[in-house]
């Protein structure tokens, strides 16, 4: 029982963090077809900017301004970088972001040093909120929960209840039609790219102090973001949300399972001492997302809730 409640709570929070990180990419990917390899780098930039801003003022200002700053950089990258490459096709765009990730990583190392920086949870939130079966539950985790749910609602509202959101939604599925209706599609692209990067930046602001803010954080988060987006499906924020939740829960529940392959496949004659037999489900937990990626792409290439194939 304890295990289930803990796993549920942790899984949901981890899933929400993943969703924050990947919602921006889903927007960008669905609309522009660009798998932004530098997305996790923008997440890292968010954390570093928040570190700088909260150093001179407060965490709360960082929460607002760091994502905006990241968004502006994202928009600039789209305007002066991606747009140039666009003519050369999707592969070129993808490779552009691939190179951009390299460069952002290196620049961060030069500016902020190569080790972790001291970016902490604000004092105000740095206390155990409640105790559950003997383990303390930090308030900051619940704060993450609120921020990401808030973001989810805001995103939903903007996309479904505002004019700009409707245009963006239309551009998600029918970019050419939107252009024909006289909307400035390049500017929509720039805005969406910037907004997507800002969302990644926001995830960085609240994830950077919860996890670690160092130059390796982008590389560590990189691939898993794609898993969420691809599994969730193209053009579907709900899909990304579902995928992030499934991934978060799957991983946390798997950690709690100590069974080995030999326990499960023992009837096939797999012994506890053999190399394959001694692998536990728990030790495989972090690999499950990639297994899921491959399986989903093979069986259902449009993803869980996607409206079209990649």
């Amino acid at each position: 029982m304890e295990t289930i409640i803990f796993s549920l709570l942790n899984g949901v929070i981890y899933g929400l963090l993943l969703f924050m990180l990947s919602s921006g990419l889903t927007l960008i990917f669905s609309m522009m077809g660009v798998l932004n390899f530098a997305h996790a780098s923008f997440y890292m930039l968010g954390a570093y900017f928040a570190y700088t801003i909260s150093g001179v003022s407060s965490f709360w200002l960082a929460l607002i301004f760091a994502p905006i700053l990241v968004g502006l950089i994202g928009a600039a990258v789209e305007k002066w970088g991606l747009r140039t490459v666009h003519a050369n096709g999707h592969v070129a765009e993808l490779l552009f972001t691939f190179g951009l990730a390299y460069i952002i990583d290196e620049i961060v190392k030069i500016v902020y040093g190569r080790n972790a920086v001291d970016y902490r949870v604000p004092e105000l939130l740095d206390f155990p909120l409640f105790e559950l079966f003997g383990a303390q539950y930090p308030a900051y985790r619940i704060f993450i929960l609120f921020i990401s749910v808030g973001m989810l609602i805001a995103l939903w509202f903007i996309l479904n209840r505002t004019r700009a959101g409707l245009i963006i939604q239309a551009a998600l599925t029918h970019p050419h039609m939107v252009g024909s209706l006289g909307h400035n599609v390049p500017r929509i692209f720039m805005t969406v790219f910037g907004a997507g990067c800002a969302l990644a930046g926001l995830a960085g602001v609240i994830g950077g102090n919860y996890l670690v803010t160092d130059p390796a954080m982008a590389v560590q988060m990189g691939p898993i973001v794609f898993v969420v987006v691809v599994v969730g499906g193209l053009g579907s924020l709900a899909g990304a949300f579902l995928a992030a939740m499934i991934l978060g829960l799957l991983q946390t529940f798997a950690v709690a399972i100590d069974a080995t392959f030999a326990d499960i496949f023992g009837f096939l004659g797999l012994s506890q001492t053999s190399e394959v037999g001694s692998i536990t489900i728990a030790s495989l937990a972090p690999m499950l997302p990639f297994l899921m990626l491959v399986i989903v792409l093979m069986i259902r290439p449009r993803g869980l809730l996607g409206d079209r194939e990649l």
């Binding site: 490459v85 390299y102 691939p223 491959v294 792409l297």
Partner: protein, 424 residues
């Protein structure tokens, strides 16, 4: 009947001389170069670099069978390089510990064949689910598979040998061509032989019907289906061959390094081979060759001069993606091509302008990056080119950064504007 159209079509076919010049001559030149190099008495460093370049050339070319020729973007090509290499490595150990039997008579010189088979097998197994689609699904599956194999590399010690990998000794088994395989100069001949075989083999592949169909599938899979081919099957077969040649490069690496570790199947080398192929130019057969040579040199030598070599690599890659999508080969062939079609004299002015602009901008960037790196390290070292003492506190530093950078960009913009006017 004198049909002018038929005549001009007939004239399009290459003559015997053209065929020789375009298809056979480059290979012969390559062979002559690799044979000639040892007569200059290279040092160990040069031997090491050349051998690694040889390995990387085969690896990058095999990658381009997918990306350039087949239009399949893979983020996990090192898997086949690694698995082929591991197959060869296990074979090398089998040779070492063999008493009698098949392995006792197998020369180490032939190990790339084992790598080839291993890579092909891996390609055949993994390719089956991945080649159903091209484009982004293919790229993402390759990424997922690469992550899974990389994790498995650290889990299954009996195959991958754990973190330390498995090592062997190449000085075992029967000798071929009188090469003991001990000294680097012997191994050079081994690498050279398989380099020529690999390059020749992959070039020959592009001329086969399958190679042609691969390009057709890249350009228009629907039409390929209309003419009666199955694009999925074409992709699958090409994938197996690409895996096989990558495995062959892995076999060469197994013999050269005598060690294989799980990092060889990780995402890092997979990304690096993508850089090699793309920077070299994926549209040309020779592109990855150039890319492999340049990037191998950068990887092993540039780090002696600057810690920020990765940043330079990233910048080079970005510039290529943005301004020269046909890669270094595209630039080179653009220049040589202008000789033959007589536009050289028109273009030379613009090129010289671009060259000067790029050079100046690059100069400014180098100063900026190097001064920043030293500032960031913070233990008192200063960038001192030609006896200048450059720090951020020194106004001269800013002059050296801003002036060349601004001037360079200005010249580049001008040169490009002129072209646009010409086009308009």
């Amino acid at each position: 009947m004198n049909n002018p159209i038929a005549q001009s079509v007939a004239n399009l076919a290459p003559t015997g001389g053209q065929k020789f010049r375009q298809r056979v001559l480059p290979l012969i030149i390559l062979a002559i170069i690799v044979v000639a190099i040892p007569f200059f008495g290279p040092s160990r460093t040069v031997y090491a670099l050349l051998s690694v370049m040889g390995i990387n050339i085969v690896f990058a070319l095999s990658y381009n069978m997918l990306l350039g020729r087949g239009g399949l973007l893979s983020f996990g090509h090192a898997v086949y390089f690694g698995l082929g290499g591991y197959a060869a490595m296990h074979a090398m150990r089998a040779i070492e510990y063999a008493d009698g039997g098949f392995w006792a008579g197998f020369p180490v010189f032939g190990l790339p064949i084992i790598g080839f088979a291993g890579g092909a097998l891996a390609g055949a197994i993994i390719g089956w689910p991945s080649c159903r689609r091209a484009g982004t699904p293919f790229a993402m599956i390759s990424l997922g598979v690469a992550e899974l194999i990389a994790a498995a590399g650290f889990m299954f010690n009996s195959i991958f040998g754990g973190e330390e990998g498995i090592s062997g000794d190449r000085m075992n088994g029967p000798e071929l061509f009188g090469l003991s395989m001990g000294p680097v100069s012997d191994v050079y001949w081994f690498i050279a032989f398989w380099l020529v075989v690999g390059v020749g083999g992959m070039y020959a592949f592009t001329r086969t019907p399958l190679g042609k169909m691969s390009e057709a599938t890249r350009d228009n899979p629907e039409r390929v289906e209309f003419v009666g081919y199955d694009p999925q099957r074409v992709r699958y077969l090409v994938f197996i061959f690409a895996g096989a040649f990558a495995g062959m490069a892995g076999g060469m690496a197994a013999v050269y390094f005598e060690i294989f570790t799980p990092e060889a199947v990780s995402l890092l080398p997979s990304g690096f081979v993508l850089l090699m192929a793309y920077i070299g130019g994926i549209a040309y057969f020779a592109g990855p060759v150039i890319g492999a040579i340049v990037l191998t040199y950068m990887q092993s030598m540039l780090s002696d001069f600057t810690e920020a070599w990765l940043l330079y690599l990233g910048l080079l890659f970005m510039l290529i993606v943005m301004y020269a999508p046909r890669g270094l080969a595209g630039i080179i062939f653009g220049v040589t091509g202008s000789f033959s079609n007589g536009t050289f004299s028109e273009m030379i002015g613009k090129w010289l302008q671009q060259l000067a602009g790029a050079f100046l901008a690059f100069l400014g960037l180098i100063v900026l990056i190097e001064v920043s790196v030293n500032w960031s390290n913070g233990f008192g070292e200063v960038f001192e080119p030609f006896g200048l003492h450059l720090t951020f506190a020194n106004p001269l530093t800013w002059v050296l950064i801003v002036v060349p950078l601004a001037l360079g960009i200005l010249i580049l913009r001008r040169a490009n504007r002129e072209t646009e006017e010409v086009l308009a």
